[in-house]
């Protein structure tokens, strides 16, 4: 009997909160511009915000005359037309309405049930609530992408960090490839450090995407190498060989994912939607190169350590219980920069480029040097070649 009462109390505390959020939350999500976005009936709490202003203030107006900013997809206040046609989303919205106060409330119980009185707290719950019900990034409309990014940026702002999350897609006629000169690498592991800083990995467990194996001359099997060496390098009679995610052209990790949370982009990069991954770790078992890393606990990363220049599919902050891995720094490369590891390497052992450009250095290396790839026999077609100068 007593148990039941407590449960009712719990529900009573949760539900009214959620409801008045839905009323009051509409306007509070706006970044800078004046946007009183009115949402349609079946999206309870989405799309509160507008980053750049200039948004029409009522639904009717929005339908008639979407403003210029909205068309660019930078604003979360676009008309709902697309969302209505898009069936899966629509069903999801229906579910979202139905389950109000059940499963998700439990997930959010900690925050939701502490009396949320300040508008800030209410906003945070509202944002997290919408985040919980969003779809897979690959299936989102431009508008939905914009609004989730807005929520992510706002949530980061609320914890005191200004971040900029990009959703820049693959560039035309680009297929990224990588070459690693095993003759040049001296095992300094500057790339490892640069990667950790660039990609916001968990500092607690010292998660690293890149592994540098110290190999005795005359050996080639990685089993015989050592990835955890702690002495001065380079060591006499040894050479060094680095691994990371090879962005396989035929990736087994993608095939096995039960929810489609990981996929290959047009520019050949294998990405993970960290907010869609259920953490089953099937992909980790399927990767023949041991490239994937799991967040066994809530990642530790202070605001100072966090790199604010982020991409939705790459280095944005991860959560507990999801998979992650190297993306060849797509937050940088899609803007035309080199990956952080390439930039950091003092010996020039790392070469990155566009495989579709016949003039690129990587193409020249593949054409003129003796190159090999790891576990060629598995048919995964890694886009990562090893080579030597002589």
């Amino acid at each position: 009997m007593k148990k039941k009462l407590n449960f009712m109390e719990f529900m009573n505390r949760c539900l009214p909160n959620m409801e008045d959020l839905q009323d009051s939350g509409q306007t509070s999500g706006c970044g800078s511009g004046g946007c009183g976005s009115q949402t349609t009936a079946n999206t309870i709490v989405t799309d509160g915000g507008c980053s750049s202003g200039g948004c029409s203030s009522s639904l009717a107006e929005a339908f008639v005359e979407p403003s210029a900013t909205c068309e660019l997809g930078t604003c979360g206040c676009q008309p709902e037309s697309e969302g209505f046609i898009h069936k899966p989303m629509n069903r999801r919205d229906a579910i979202k309405t139905m389950v109000g106060g059940t499963a998700a409330t439990v997930a959010l119980a900690q925050t939701a049930c502490s009396p949320a009185n300040t508008p800030e707290e209410k906003e945070e719950i509202r944002l997290k609530w919408s985040e919980y019900f969003k779809g897979n990034f690959r299936e989102m409309t431009e508008k939905e992408r914009a609004s989730t990014i807005q929520r992510l940026e706002r949530l980061a702002e609320m914890r005191g960090k200004d971040i900029n999350v990009s959703k820049l897609g693959p560039q035309e006629n680009v297929l990224y490839g990588y070459a690693f000169n095993i003759g040049k690498c001296k095992g300094y592991r500057k790339c490892v450090d640069a990667c950790v800083h660039e990609n916001n990995q968990d500092r607690d467990t010292k998660m690293q995407y890149i592994r540098i194996f110290e190999m005795e001359n005359g050996k080639i099997n990685l089993e015989d190498g050592k990835a955890d060496y702690f002495h001065a390098v380079p060591r006499e009679g040894h050479y060094y060989i680095g691994t990371q995610c090879f962005q396989c052209e035929n990736p087994p990790c993608v095939k096995v994912c039960p929810v489609g949370a990981t996929w290959k982009e047009k520019d050949g990069i294998i990405v993970i939607d960290y907010d869609w991954c259920i953490g089953c770790r099937y992909c980790q078992a399927a990767c023949p190169y041991w490239a994937r890393r799991f967040n066994w606990a809530e990642p530790k990363l202070s605001n100072e350590q966090e790199n604010g220049k982020q991409h939705y599919l790459s280095n944005r902050k991860r959560k507990q219980g999801v998979m992650e891995k190297c993306t060849f720094c797509l937050q940088r490369t899609r803007k035309g920069e080199n990956p952080a590891c390439v930039e950091a390497c003092p010996t020039g052992a790392r070469v990155f480029g566009n495989l579709l450009d016949p003039q690129s250095e990587i193409r020249k290396i593949i054409a003129s040097k003796r190159v090999f790839r790891l576990k060629e026999e598995l048919g995964t077609e890694p886009k990562f070649w090893y080579y030597m100068d002589q």
């Binding site: 990685l222 078992a285 066994w296 606990a297 219980g321």
Partner: protein, 402 residues
């Protein structure tokens, strides 16, 4: 509609009828479940770091047990086979308890998958149309479908039979027997799909063998009937439910044959791995002999294999197998040996060494053991409830009042 309501009402009421030992049993199960629940809470709060798993051995005790209990679920339905072979026995009665075991084992399986994922709150992403199920590429998507289908099949058939008996009607054979046949084939299906989960991964040569599926099946058809024999004997003694010796003997026969086949396949694997060991034999090397001084599983696997050989040997002798004092002991030992072989010997070594040749060992943590105990207790609890009601109806203790 009304009788459906009373069916459930009477069923639940029956659950509260029982002697002190029944109550003690149920309370014991509930305590274990609560302990498991608490451990799971800690795991959710702090993340999977509280388990023994790591990026190197990324599946452990949970997935091993999942695999094993899929086998038990699949084999449970084999109880209907002897009934078929024997034609004269009461068919529906045999189906009921077998499917009760199947349902409980499936709930255990689903429980193990549920606690293994890092984000149980996002499991709705797997629901077709609402989320996106990656079907047909992902074998895990297949597994989800076949396991739930099997669960539905095995809940609905007994429900139909019991509901008929409750109302005093004879179940219509034509209505449910086709589904019983289907469930036998489906049983093979769930097991093969589960084997394909692992066999499809070229990254792990230890699993990437065409023998994995058949070997799974053989060991399941040895361990499953062994469980059922024990369960039937307990039910026969405690609830005075008439179960004929011949049913037990047939089951024991199935278990024996399956155990023999399992041993033959094990032998063939061992031959392949060790006659000319290659780089791909390293996992087997680790499992049976240890690798570079790491040999956490060596003792377990040899214990299991030796036990398995001895028990199978005894079961091959007719008088010993037919002695119903010895049989449950043999079944228990067979069950334990296969549980170790499949539980520790199939999943974990697949991760050692890692695809890049690093060796990191694995031992389940206390939290993992507690959560696992909780899930198994949940399965046993559900079986206790289901079989109590089923036996009650079969014996005519629960009847629709006029």
């Amino acid at each position: 509609m009304k009788s459906l309501f009373y069916f459930f009402f009477d069923g639940f009421k029956h659950l509260y009828k029982g002697g002190p030992s029944y109550y003690a049993w149920v309370i014991f199960l509930k305590i274990v479940m609560l302990v498991g629940l608490y451990a799971w809470y800690i795991q959710i709060r702090d993340g999977l770091q509280v388990t023994g798993m790591s990026d190197h051995v990324s599946w452990g005790f949970y997935i091993s047990n999942f695999t094993f209990f899929v086998g038990v679920a699949a084999a449970a339905v084999m109880l209907v086979l002897p009934a078929y072979v024997l034609h004269d026995s009461d068919f529906s009665q045999a189906v009921l308890l077998g499917e009760g075991v199947a349902v409980s084992a499936l709930i255990i399986c689903i429980g193990f998958v549920g606690v293994d994922v890092g984000r149980p709150d996002r499991l709705w992403h797997m629901i077709p149309f609402i989320g996106n199920l990656h079907f047909p590429e992902s074998m895990l998507a297949w597994d989800l479908i076949v396991l739930n289908g099997y669960l539905a099949l095995n809940s609905l058939i007994p429900f139909y039979i019991l509901f008929c008996k409750y109302r005093g009607i004879k179940p219509n054979n034509k209505l449910y027997v086709p589904f019983v046949y289907l469930s036998v084939f489906w049983a093979v299906g769930i097991h093969m799909v589960t084997a394909f989960l692992y066999a499809g991964l070229t990254a792990r040569p230890y699993w990437n063998s065409s023998l994995l599926g058949p070997r799974f099946l053989a060991s399941a058809f040895a361990a499953g009937p062994a469980v059922i024999i024990m369960v039937l004997m307990v039910i026969r003694n405690v609830w005075k439910f008439p179960i004929r010796n011949v049913t037990l003997d047939k089951l024991a026969m199935i278990a024996t044959v399956a155990a023999q086949v399992n041993l033959i396949m094990l032998g063939s694997e061992i031959f392949k791995e060790f006659y000319w060991p290659t780089e791909h034999s390293q996992s087997a090397q680790y499992l049976f002999f240890g690798l570079h001084g790491h040999d956490a599983l060596k003792g377990w696997i040899w214990f299991s294999i030796i036990l398995n050989i001895i028990v199978t040997g005894f079961m091959m002798v007719h008088p010993i197998r037919k002695n119903h004092r010895v049989l449950p002991v043999l079944c228990l030992l067979l069950f334990i040996s296969i549980w170790i072989e499949k539980g520790l010997g199939i999943i974990v070594p697949g991760f050692i060494p890692s695809p890049l040749g690093e060796i990191v060992e694995y031992t389940p943590s206390h939290i993992e053991l507690m959560v696992s105990a909780g899930i198994i207790a949940l399965g046993i609890f559900i079986f206790t409830c289901l079989s109590k009601v089923a036996v009650g109806i079969e014996k005519g203790e629960i009847k629709k009042s006029q």
